[in-house]
């Protein structure tokens, strides 16, 4: 189906956003959202540049999938690719947030023990209420 790839990307992005919001991993992380957006945008721009360099060098190019929308921003560069690099950067930020949570690196309720054992409140994948809900975002 024409446009199915774009729909898949958007649906996957929405799913990742739900995970993000539920566990406060990237855009919903307690740190400044502007910083997350800045890092993610810079990464997406560099990924797109990488893509364009690879396409211009002829390493890869368009396929013949009926799932493509058929909107081309440049030869071999479909509109979907821009959505993809943003999605890729976002998934990376969310995965990094999850990894940070797993190793106990999230902001903790008890500080002063930055070098202490990873057994305090922030050190586990949180259950529903393991992180304070009243944190402003």
């Amino acid at each position: 189906m024409r446009g199915a790839y774009l729909l898949c990307l958007l649906a996957a992005g929405a799913g990742v956003a739900l995970l993000d919001r539920r566990w406060r991993l990237a855009l919903w992380h307690p740190r400044s959202r502007a910083r997350t957006v800045a890092v993610g945008s810079a990464a997406a721009a560099l990924l797109l540049l990488w893509d364009v360099v690879a396409i211009r060098a002829g390493f890869y190019g368009r396929g013949d999938s009926p799932a493509l929308l058929g909107v081309w921003l440049a030869p071999h560069l479909p509109l979907e690719e821009v959505v993809f690099v943003v999605f890729f950067a976002y998934v990376t930020l969310v995965a990094a947030g999850g990894a940070e949570r797993l190793v106990g690196g999230a902001p903790r309720r008890s500080r002063r023990d930055d070098d202490g054992p990873l057994t305090d409140a922030g050190a586990h994948v949180p259950s529903d209420d393991a992180r304070p809900r009243e944190v402003a975002s």
């Binding site: 990464a43 396929g63 690196g105």
Partner: protein
Amino acid sequence: MTYAGLGVGVVVACAAVAAWAVATEPRRGRRPARLLAVLGLTAAALCLLTVVFDSLMIAADLFRYDEAALLGPRVGRAPVEDLAWPLAAALALPSLLALTTDRRTTEARA
């Protein structure tokens, strides 16, 4: 320049950023080992996702490679060179977040 060469260049640049971030973590009041663990876990997760979804995207014929420009080995359907994407992103993004988040910032918002 080959596709592999381009990927290796980007990954090396990102690894340099990561090394800098890890080495300077104590200045921001955190242990370097913690950021290293974050980088490793993020890379593992992204590489797994890449192998699965890159393979699906290739199978769907969303894009095609110049076979002559590839090294040859594939993971699933994904050329090994494509793993440069998740590696570079997993090295650079958590490192940039760490470099721009000092302890004071964290405490102020925690």
